[in-house]
């Protein structure tokens, strides 16, 4: 585009008013939507089709002609047909020689074919310059203009100039091209729109597993135990009481797991004395899904907050309150204010509130548009300093809440520890190791090891 307008302006000012004709093979949904959008942006559009009769669905201003005729009119041809029908293109090989072919196709399954559609196209028409693009954009979004989901268009191809041409068109259509390299990247690009939250898989599976475990643990101790020994029916604990134990436990464990890999990495680097050897694979993957782990933890924390705030409205709790008051009166026994209890209760609530507040703050700064607007120093400050503060507050919240039960034998029903104790293992370990790592004798060498990495020194030539 740039190129053309430049040349034209210099040589022939009269015709400067035109963009180059674009050809689209195929009059299906995507072909039509793309044609519509291209015409809107000032491109003359011709459709290549088997039947050349114009239907009412073809965008106004576009011409429909045979594939061969259409291909001759343009330097760039969008292949808006399905992979199964690509074969017929071999018969046009001569006409397509030197043209830019844009493969916009998608598959219905990940890795459906041995090679990507774009590479297959390049094999079929060896003389053409194949560029993969537009497959992540939906026809409906293109036509309606409501590009809610991704404005990013991944582009790849072996020919730089062809790729440039396509990227310019992408930009003119109001989308953002992202160069992904050579045509080898086409497979990944074709798999992209078929993915379903790949980074979230591990955190969600992990939390599902933990939820199941803790649910049955709580069920045993809170519902079955009192039923067996006291003949009391607390089955309704399944609705709120038990979830409100599971949620904070999972939130704390997952938050601990967000900071554990960082601590492990520090230990490995200290042990190795260098940062130039790769971490083991599992640690690499773990570090890449820390954000997702943290957000799942935040989800559990939020539900925990709601469950907790709803407590005084619960029918059971209201019954228990009046039952307690009535029994106090009937026994004619008034309790004075227990200041220790008041302190404990208020502290763990306050710690929880502050911890949750910082947690939400972390969540907000991980929104793409917010994190795009801070520099690295600010991002690290929030995610690391505030993150650790959150972990400390939440761990303290749990400790203060349940601390009194550690030494009470009656809380070890069936010789099992109260469930909330499990939640403390990981965060406490992380905090202890992190505390040790802060000591100068460990912090200094670690900082020196990392400086080679943080700034770009290690002028290792």
């Amino acid at each position: 585009m740039n190129k053309n307008s430049t040349n034209i302006m210099a040589l022939a000012p009269k015709s400067s008013n035109k963009r180059d004709t674009v050809c689209i093979f195929g009059t299906g949904d995507f072909g039509r939507a793309l044609g519509h959008k291209l015409i809107q942006s000032g491109y003359p559009v011709v459709f290549g089709s088997r039947s050349t009769q114009t239907s009412s669905l073809i965008p106004k201003g576009a011409e429909v002609m045979s594939h061969a005729e259409a291909a001759q009119k343009a330097a760039i041809i969008f292949i808006a047909i399905q992979r199964q029908h690509y074969n017929f293109l071999t018969s046009l090989a001569e006409i397509l020689h030197g043209k830019v072919l844009v493969d916009i196709s998608n598959n219905s399954k990940i890795n459906e074919y041995p090679e990507s559609n774009a590479e297959y196209l390049a094999q079929l028409v060896p003389g053409a310059k194949v560029v993969k693009a537009f497959n992540t954009v939906s026809a409906w979004a293109l036509q309606s203009g409501t590009l809610d989901a991704s404005r990013q268009v991944f582009v790849c191809g072996d020919d730089m100039a062809a790729k440039q041409l396509v990227m310019d068109i992408v930009r003119i259509l109001g989308l953002t091209p992202l160069d992904q390299g050579s045509l080898l990247a086409a497979r990944e690009i074709e798999n992209y729109p078929l993915q379903l939250f790949p980074m979230w898989k591990f955190p969600i599976l992990l939390s599902l597993g933990l939820t199941t475990f803790f649910f049955f643990y709580c069920l045993a101790l809170d519902v079955i135990y009192p039923y067996v020994y006291q003949k009391k029916d607390f089955s309704f604990f399944i609705a709120i009481t038990i979830p409100n134990k599971i949620c904070p436990i999972l939130a704390l464990i997952l938050l601990g797991l967000v900071y554990l890999p960082g601590v492990l990495a520090a230990i490995i680097q200290l042990y190795r004395g260098t940062k130039y050897r790769r971490f083991p694979d599992w640690l690499d993957k773990w570090m890449l899904c820390r954000k997702q782990l943290g957000l799942v933890a935040l989800a559990f924390a939020s539900v925990h907050v709601l469950y907790t705030l709803v407590i005084p409205i619960r029918s059971y709790v209201r019954w228990r309150t009046s039952d307690r008051i009535i029994s106090q009166i009937q026994n004619n026994r008034t309790e004075p204010l227990n200041t220790t209890n008041a302190w404990l209760s208020d502290s763990y609530l306050a710690l929880g509130i502050l911890g949750f507040f910082l947690f939400v703050l972390l969540g907000i700064t991980s929104l793409p548009s917010v994190s795009n607007n801070v520099n690295w120093r600010e991002f690290r400050f929030v995610q690391s300093k505030l993150g650790y503060l959150t972990l400390i507050l939440c761990t303290a919240h749990t400790l203060v809440y349940g601390g009194k039960w550690f030494l009470v034998p009656s809380s070890y029903k069936w010789y099992l520890p109260p469930v909330y104790m499990f939640s403390l293992i990981i965060p406490c370990s992380v905090l202890v190791v992190k505390f040790v790592l802060i000591f100068p004798c460990l912090d200094k060498p670690l900082t020196r090891i990392r400086q080679g990495w943080e700034r770009n020194p290690q002028y290792s030539e």
Copy 2:
């Protein structure tokens, strides 16, 4: 820009250090702010003005001269004067011939003039290449650099090369140009900054109407009825009790309305047997404002949550609690724990919490920066699968909450049904129809109809 630097580099490396001079007609706020920004980006700037004396407001480095002189210095001229003063440009027609005129003007009312300002300018100076741009950017934002609101600059014009030139300048200034097509689009672009949430109009008016209706309905049943028959003054219900009935009702109705058009569309497609006929206009419009409907519903749900959580703090509720306990004691009657009640109360709270949590999740994924970072499959998964789950949970929440009152005659005051029953009609209908549509005998043909649309098959040539 591209063009020029290219040529210059090739021909005269010495002068490669210069961008082309830009001319601005008018030294008002926007003209000066633009000049300031252009100079900052390395453009030599000349101002065309009636009085050529430089004031202290003119940005440093800019020259002020007569319109004619200024126009001759540059190939591109920003017309930063009001439409009423455009006439004088006719006298400069000869000098302006072949120049790029950028119309940046706005009107004070939508469709104020028969033709857009840019088209009017093109009529006045037929020899010039008119481009519409920059009208959505505020002078203040341009100057202060705090471009909080839109960085997008809509550009349109009939001359491609001229448009390209302007789009390059937009990009250099750190803004994002969006090509809107030919100068015909100028009207829409000029109307854009005058719009006030056009997509939100229908959802907000609808919810205002429903709010009014339900308010008076509740007022009659909850305040006037007890006053008439029991001489009790419950007027303070207006502050919290009644709003806390209206909010959940509206949230549920609006959430139902988000999914109703999808169900209607499916029925229409099944009936027509094709997806290639347009939906009726009202359905199209309805589908386009689903996001807004959903967000208004979320707003009502959030307020409902706050109103509910605040219940135990209310003076009235605290009085009622102690009144109940005291009367229990005075009657020497202790109620045992009612497990059914505990179950019901805990379930509807738990359902509400989970429903609200998913609802908030839907809201977060509809944030532009989040939805930009998911692919279509993920977006549809969240908005459709999680959306229906939300609808199911919220409907169940309402059913469990009020189910016991369906068959109690005393809840039909003045023969009117309790207000919350109204909220169930739409969501229940949607869920029932959706459930029917899932049956293979309906789902299979529907999927086949839509596949022509989803992927781009229907190689209909």
Copy 3:
């Protein structure tokens, strides 16, 4: 890039398949990460290094050679070495003549050296065209592709064509270049990644100061006073009761401070009769950090909401409730429902909820991705109309909450006013002045003064 592909395409179609070679001096972290990314985008990359043996860390496909050799291979050279080692470049001055040198370095302190690194580089190699860029991007983010933080790359330089070249590379790498002008801007660009929330400094320091003051004020009145005069230990008030007084006070004061500068500006403009004289510096700075002030206020308001909702769960509050009920019974005194109290309690809760809801709405619209999607009219509508409504609701919330205590002498312990009264001074003043400014006799001239500014009239030539 554009340029090259253009020329190449026109002249030598065979070689169109290549981008121009890029040279990187230095094989440190950033050099390698950049090389990796450039190779991925199709650039041939050569590294200039002291030792020319290829290590396993060098990205595949890149060549390592001596500085002089590497420099001769490319027109553009990234200087990925630290400022301290720049000196050796003087020996290469001849080879570097006419080349584009990209300075990507950062310092470890703000304003560490008298001149920016890029200007220092330009002095060392006067014949080269120095461009500052990429310093805000981290090596780790570049390599892993997880560009969570800023995708924006600030670019500055004195040579337009060189800058254009670099900006094209930035774009190809999937980042967004922002032209910051001449090399003079390098200092600011180098300081940018070292900044830590500069706009937040004032709001946070201010709120810290106010928090400290109010904490000791409350401590004196709520803990020390009852301890001295009534020998009661309310020290646990420090955890929740006192923070829950400080938070709403600070939220309201800071919210008032968001709207105060606007009111002051109006008064100054009315007094001066023009808007073309600059505001005093402190007012300018104040206006620029209004968004941050508002968000800090929102943070305090959110914490206040959590602290309030948690009230009924507090051990102390539950004790107080049962204590009150028991004493009622023991005194055999049943209180009837106090409708006035019910009204007051419900109103201030309802006002608070609505105020907080609007406040959160304001917060959401200030998210970058949301504010990017609204036009200026909508942005102003939300931030000004809804903002004032929020201020009114929150002020009314406070007034209704504490109104009854104004005239009760016992609330003036130690002759000091109850702490919440402090919070009313600023918001009430703002609202009163704003109300006065709405009167036509003041509003009309003010609008006229501002219109010169709002639209771009004042055709002052």
